[in-house]
């Protein structure tokens, strides 16, 4: 299972998100609060947008299949850059020789024909059975860009292909439609192959102007028969949280969102960055959350997903 962190708003030093808080993103990899064991690490990725670099619409990208807490380059980089939008992902995979650990499988994914990036927390059960059916919903250009072996990259290709089909000017409406269309496609294929086991689809999507995040599971509460009835950590771990305010700051030795006249910043993440979660909101299952920044003000739109 993976961890995802996204940010939109007042420019922030990446180190303050990734390393400094008491439950920082990197700390979650070796001292997880929400999991009974360590993440099975298979890489770290980051896309981030700032206004000071050339081609501001495109993010800078850092992806590695190495362990982030041993990565001196990453630490150095995070002490130097202050993006206004960021999407970061830690890849966790099962302990299995069948799993492929490679840079090509590291999230967030971003094809060369777009500035939209996607990261995924979850896994599609029996993905190998359904993956070639997905090709019917991926346009030819995007098919060529798939380089890895993960379900997440294929999901990205399906979503992007649906998004590129839409010609409306309302980017958020197109995003919502493409996301729901993607879920419907997956649902149809799962039905066709009689796949009826819990498969989380917590997707984080951004192009620097918005962050969309879903908390959604196909066949929620249906673990494979041999896995027993429950694993609370499994359900809790695919969670989605956010906090927002004027600016993300260090106050009284704790990182938090400062309240102010304007709410200009938001963090959406798979778990809170601080042990004190009182200023964080957990989003319930079956929710789509979209954050945009308009006139320095964060706007949060949310929908209950019912497909």
């Amino acid at each position: 299972m993976c961890r995802v962190l996204s940010y939109l708003g007042y420019p922030v030093l990446v180190e303050d998100l990734l390393y400094k808080p008491d439950n920082s993103f990197i700390k979650q990899t070796y001292h997880p609060i929400y999991m009974p064991h360590l993440l099975n690490l298979a890489g770290f990725g980051l896309v981030a947008w700032n206004n000071e670099s050339p081609n501001t619409g495109l993010p800078f990208i850092y992806r590695t299949d190495q362990l982030p807490f041993y990565d001196e380059n990453l630490r150095n980089l995070t002490q130097k850059i202050e993006p206004y939008c960021l999407l970061s992902h830690i890849r966790g995979v099962a302990y299995s020789d069948k799993k492929v650990v490679s840079k090509q499988n590291v999230h967030p994914f971003m094809f060369p024909n777009t500035n939209i990036a996607l990261a995924h927390n979850g896994a599609l059960h029996q993905f190998d059975n359904m993956k070639y059916e997905l090709l019917n919903f991926i346009n030819k250009e995007n098919q060529k860009y798939i380089r890895g072996t993960t379900d997440s990259e294929w999901l990205y290709a399906v979503f992007l292909s649906q998004f590129q089909l839409l010609s409306g000017k309302d980017e958020i409406a197109n995003l919502t439609t493409a996301l729901i269309e993607t879920f419907k496609i997956i649902k149809k294929i799962r039905y066709h192959y009689n796949i009826r086991v819990n498969s989380p689809m917590n997707l984080f999507i951004s192009n620097g102007k918005f962050i969309a995040a879903t908390r959604f599971v196909f066949d929620y509460g249906w673990r494979a028969i041999h896995e027993g009835l429950e694993e609370l950590a499994h359900y809790n771990y695919h969670s989605l949280w956010y906090t927002y305010g004027e600016k993300y700051i260090l106050e009284n030795d704790e990182y938090k969102m400062k309240e102010g006249d304007k709410r200009s910043s938001i963090i959406i993440a798979s778990e809170p960055l601080t042990e004190d979660t009182t200023s964080w909101i957990e989003v319930p299952e079956y929710t789509l959350l979209i954050a945009t920044l308009e006139s320095d003000e964060i706007r949060i739109i949310s929908y209950d997903i019912d497909i």
Binding site: G221, W222, T243
Partner: protein, 335 residues
């Protein structure tokens, strides 16, 4: 501090209203009185606490820093009130800060001692648990009114999202299944978090008095206005808890396996406020109303364990209701 001088007050507190003086003697032997000076912090929001406090003298103010708002004054607690039930039951950090308005004398009921009561004095623990559940359900009533007010003010849509997908109403149904048909075995059930403290005999009695049902998506298990409900355990699948008002629906929480729930009308004499709707095909273990009486009278230990689970479920629901109010004020929800 001599606890005896508070005996009369203790019997009148909300938490101990079902205890007699003999039972109170047991409590007195193991609980401490703590005195806070005026303006001192009794509880700090976001920090873990040892358990629950019962105010025996003085008054305290409950404040909370809530996302999107500054510090909010939530309530004033007086003699006889209690707070910290969330820490006691769910062991999660405090959701609010409590500050002494005057000098405050409190009886501290620690979570450790509360857990010990279940072993040595289960009746006492049960009586306190019942008092807590009632208090939480009363509080849920106030939160419900707040949610309805917010929904009335909100421009949220009365149409489901995405509208175009919901063109046809799904057929919903519920049918009895056997353990074999549900691919369920007793061992898996016994190993699960909820049932692992049950004895063989208790689990047998529970199963004997229950029905295993398979329910389709969108099936309503408990609806608003229902007077009493069965007790339900989610074995597989998921249940969505919503508040529905004038065709507008606000999602409170989604319950996963293995959770238990029932209507708040089982606890207090007020109509239930929350809809429990199946949001993923589910396998449910249901104890019908008439069987609840049988369990209550034939096996006290099992009845107490059910009460503990119900208490935990309502305390969690209270937290979810508070979060929903924040979400309705922060988000453009279902518009």
């Amino acid at each position: 501090m001599n606890i005896t001088k508070y005996e009369h007050t203790l019997l009148k507190t909300k938490a101990f209203k079902y205890l007699d003086s003999k039972e109170l003697d047991v409590i007195k032997g193991y609980c401490n009185i703590i005195i806070f000076r005026k303006s001192e912090l009794l509880f700090k929001q976001g920090k873990k606490n040892s358990g629950m406090y019962i105010i025996l003298k003085g008054s305290a103010m409950v404040v909370a820093k809530i996302l999107g708002k500054n510090i909010l004054n939530i309530a004033t607690l007086e003699e006889g009130d209690f707070f910290g039930q969330v820490s006691l039951i769910t062991k999660v950090p405090c959701a609010a800060t409590v500050i002494a308005n005057t000098e405050v004398h409190c009886l501290e009921l620690t979570a450790d001692y509360f857990d010990t009561l279940a072993i040595f004095y289960p009746e006492i623990r049960y009586s306190i648990t019942q008092a807590i559940i009632e208090n939480v359900c009363e509080s849920l009533g106030s939160l419900y009114k707040n949610i309805i007010d917010t929904m009335n003010r909100s421009e949220m849509s009365d149409k489901p999202f995405p509208e175009k997908i919901m063109t046809t109403k799904r057929n919903t149904k519920s049918e009895f299944v056997t353990f074999e048909e549900a691919n369920l075995n007793r061992t898996d059930l016994a190993k699960s978090t909820l049932f692992k403290s049950y004895t063989e005999e208790e689990l047998d009695l529970l199963i004997t008095n229950s029905e295993l049902i398979k329910v389709s998506k969108d099936y309503t298990l408990i609806t608003t206005g229902e007077e009493q409900s069965a007790y339900y355990f989610i074995i597989r699948g998921a249940i969505q808890l919503s508040i529905i008002h004038q065709k507008k629906k606000a999602k409170l929480a989604v319950l996963s396996p293995i959770s238990m729930f029932c209507s708040s009308s089982n606890i207090i004499k007020k109509t239930n406020m929350i809809h429990y709707i199946v949001c993923e095909r589910s396998i449910i273990l249901k104890i019908p109303i008439n069987k609840l009486k049988i369990i209550e009278h034939s096996n006290k230990s099992l009845w107490h364990k059910l009460s503990n689970s119900i208490c935990e479920s309502f305390v969690t629901l209270e937290l979810a209701a508070n979060k929903l109010i924040i979400r309705l004020n922060s988000e453009l929800y279902n518009r």
